[in-house]
């Protein structure tokens, strides 16, 4: 059953046009991943308007290839320039940059790309196996189940996201509030417009993503005054081959990283903890833990495998449930809606060519990706040697173009600028941006699910716990919401017992 579908998918993904699209996507994605201020999420957001005229399958292939490319590109800046483009690349810098400083940049990059490839491939295989099953289960879901899953999505930001849980919650609430601005499609009432006609159409999350992640990130980079003094990498087939010969030694690290990544990754905000966790495990089980942090190749393999397994896994809830696992997946989900597709489990029944083309393109995209980045690393790294005086206006202009082209509306460029300043302030004060964006994307869906559930139960919130599936999910969500309180309580308890035992002689 699943296998025939995959063959069908490959027939779509291997069409020359779609292969070409994948190559373009990987190149653009890697460039975007290397550039400061442009990451996967807003790269996808900026290019989204260009896909409106494409067939949906090619469009999603372009965007997912961009996503893989951006993930690969992040490894280049982490290793050669010690600049983690994304939070989940932080752990890669620990050992990647020392290696590059020692002149082993080629080995580090080869290890990073190979681990990324293995991690992503592992996730894609699991997606191939589990996505149809999950979609089948999800077909039986009603509004209470969907609302419960959304609760779980947001609770994991609070329980697992690290940082200040209150600020995570504020970010989520703000996202939902921004999403509710404009016309209420159920009752037809105008909400939170305060008489301004410009506010009637609400805030588009694409603009928010471009502003928050794009402009905000550049403002941060400016303040830190980063000078890109990178290590040079010599990478050639011999280096690649010799590194590959050593990698089977780390088979266990690969497997562990891939499992951690997938398990953490299909929940939102999971990629960063997954990469750190995988790094910590690799260090604990290593025979030479003292070498970690000084340029140990295993310290590159572990976080990269996990981060990319997580990056792949984030697409699983998006295609099966219509609930994205990461900001980038959220933007893709927005794309699906714009292309006229209804995200969610029905997609497997209604558009198998789209779903399986997408899944097959994850295989082809990763294979093309790893070959391209290995071949062209010096070119991509050269981008960061372009002077800042040119890069900055270029990136800002590209952001503005992307923001304008969504609705051909001038006010969106202004919104982008405002969101940029908000993004800068929030980032500095530790308000997380990813949950805000996710809430903005899911706002209408979540509210409708809540409304329909309440109509079903005639106003009783108990419906979320009395139905078996939604009950389990809701309880899990409540647990994650309470997790910061529980850990704080336990810490206090432990501290008091420690001080108590210290006092007694």
């Amino acid at each position: 059953m699943g296998f025939e579908n995959l063959v069908l998918g490959f027939q779509v993904a291997l069409q020359p046009y779609n292969l070409g699209i994948a190559v373009v996507g990987i190149i653009l994605g890697t460039v975007i991943g290397v550039l400061p201020g442009l990451g996967g999420a807003n790269g996808v957001a900026i290019l989204l308007p260009l896909t409106f005229t494409m067939p949906p399958t090619s469009a999603i292939i372009l965007l997912t290839s961009l996503y893989w490319g951006a993930l690969f590109g992040g490894a280049i800046t982490s290793i050669l320039f010690n600049i983690p483009g994304e939070p989940w690349s932080v752990a890669t810098t620990f050992d990647g940059y020392p290696m590059a400083r020692r002149g082993e940049g080629g080995q580090a990059l080869t290890a990073a790309f190979t681990s990324s490839f293995v991690g992503a491939l592992f996730s894609v295989v699991l997606i191939t196996l589990f996505a149809p099953i999950l979609a089948e289960i999800a077909l039986k879901f009603g509004p209470p189940e969907f609302f419960a899953i959304q609760l779980l999505t947001f609770s994991s930001f609070i329980g697992l996201g690290g940082g200040n849980p209150l600020k995570s919650l504020v970010a989520i609430l703000l996202g939902f509030i921004l999403a509710s601005v404009g016309l209420d499609i159920v009752t037809g009432a105008l909400r939170l417009t305060f008489g301004f006609t410009e506010l009637m159409k609400g805030f588009d999350f694409i603009i928010a993503v471009i502003g928050l992640f794009g402009i905000g990130e550049i403002l941060l980079t400016m303040e830190e005054g980063l000078a890109f003094r990178g290590a040079r990498a010599r990478i050639n087939p011999r280096v690649v081959w010799q590194t590959w010969k050593t990698l089977p030694r780390y088979a266990r690290t690969f497997v562990r990283g891939a499992f951690i990544g997938f398990w953490m990754g299909f929940k939102p905000g999971g990629a960063t903890p997954a990469s750190f966790m995988s790094y910590a495990f690799a260090k604990r089980f290593s025979r030479h833990p003292e070498r970690f942090g000084k340029g140990e190749i295993e310290g590159v393999v572990a976080p990269e495998t996990a981060a990319h397994a997580a990056g792949g896994a984030a697409l699983l809830p998006m295609i099966t449930l219509g609930i994205p696992g990461s900001p980038t997946a959220a933007v893709m989900l927005g794309g699906l809606i714009i292309w006229g597709l209804q995200p969610g489990p029905m997609l497997f029944k209604e558009r198998p060519d789209f779903v399986w083309g997408l899944i097959a393109s994850m295989y082809t995209g990763n294979i093309i990706g790893v070959i391209m980045v290995l071949a062209f690393v010096p070119l991509f790294a050269a981008i960061l040697r372009v002077p800042f005086g040119i890069l900055t206006p270029l990136i800002v202009s590209v952001c503005a173009i992307g923001a304008y082209s969504v609705h051909s509306s001038m006010i969106d460029i202004w919104y982008m600028l405002v969101f940029g300043v908000i993004g800068y302030v929030f980032k500095k004060l530790d308000y997380p941006l990813a949950p805000l964006v996710l809430a903005l994307v899911l706002g209408d869906l979540a509210e409708n699910a809540l409304r329909q559930s309440l109509i079903m139960s005639q106003g009783s919130l108990l419906i979320f716990v009395t139905r078996p599936i939604s009950g389990v999910i809701t309880l899990a969500a409540l647990f994650f919401f309470a997790l910061p309180l529980i850990t704080a309580y336990r810490r206090r308890l432990r501290r008091s017992t420690v001080s108590a035992t210290a006092e007694t002689p």
């Binding site: 400016m222 002077p387 005086g389 202009s397 503005a400 202004w414 600028l417 004060l429 308000y431 109509i455």
Partner: protein
């Protein structure tokens, strides 16, 4: 940092109050066909106010002496933000292509201190390439001004 934290919490609380007021206007109870329009925003605003109060209290008690932005850090941030804002104003009146040309040129000369030749080439090449990609290939129109209409677009 503490002041910035407090101010942000206050601003967010003001947002919360605005949302609360509008939610009450729309009705937060049960309408003829389910929860009314203000129901969801009302509870969002209530939670937001509670959280911001708690964050404000945390910030009040915290003793962080680190400033939100250092004096050396602020200058480059403003040097990026102000030209960008100016470029958006120019876009509003003269279209995106003129604005990006001026913005590129100004920034490259002022911050990057590049030669006039490089400045001229880049600030002409970028809008032209953008024009070809967006208006010609992908048929996505950009904001245009008097220059483009004079050229016949």
């Amino acid at each position: 940092m503490r002041a910035a934290d407090l101010v942000t919490a206050l601003v967010l609380m003001a947002v919360g109050v605005l949302v609360l007021a509008d939610a009450l206007r729309l009705g937060i109870g049960w309408g003829t066909d389910g929860p009314r329009s203000g129901f969801f925003p009302f509870w969002l605003a209530v939670l937001l106010l509670v959280c911001c109060l708690a964050i404000g209290a945390q910030a009040w008690r915290a003793r962080v002496t680190k400033p939100f932005v250092s004096r050396e850090g602020l200058a480059p941030v403003l040097k990026m933000l102000l030209p960008a804002t100016a470029a958006v104003v120019v876009t509003q009146f003269f279209g995106l292509y003129v604005a990006t040309a001026l913005y590129m040129g100004f920034y490259m000369r002022w911050i990057g201190r590049h030669s006039w030749l490089a400045v001229t080439v880049m600030s002409l090449a970028f809008p032209v390439i953008t024009f070809v990609i967006f208006e010609r290939w992908f048929l996505v129109p950009m904001p245009k001004g008097p220059l483009e209409s004079w050229l016949g677009y």
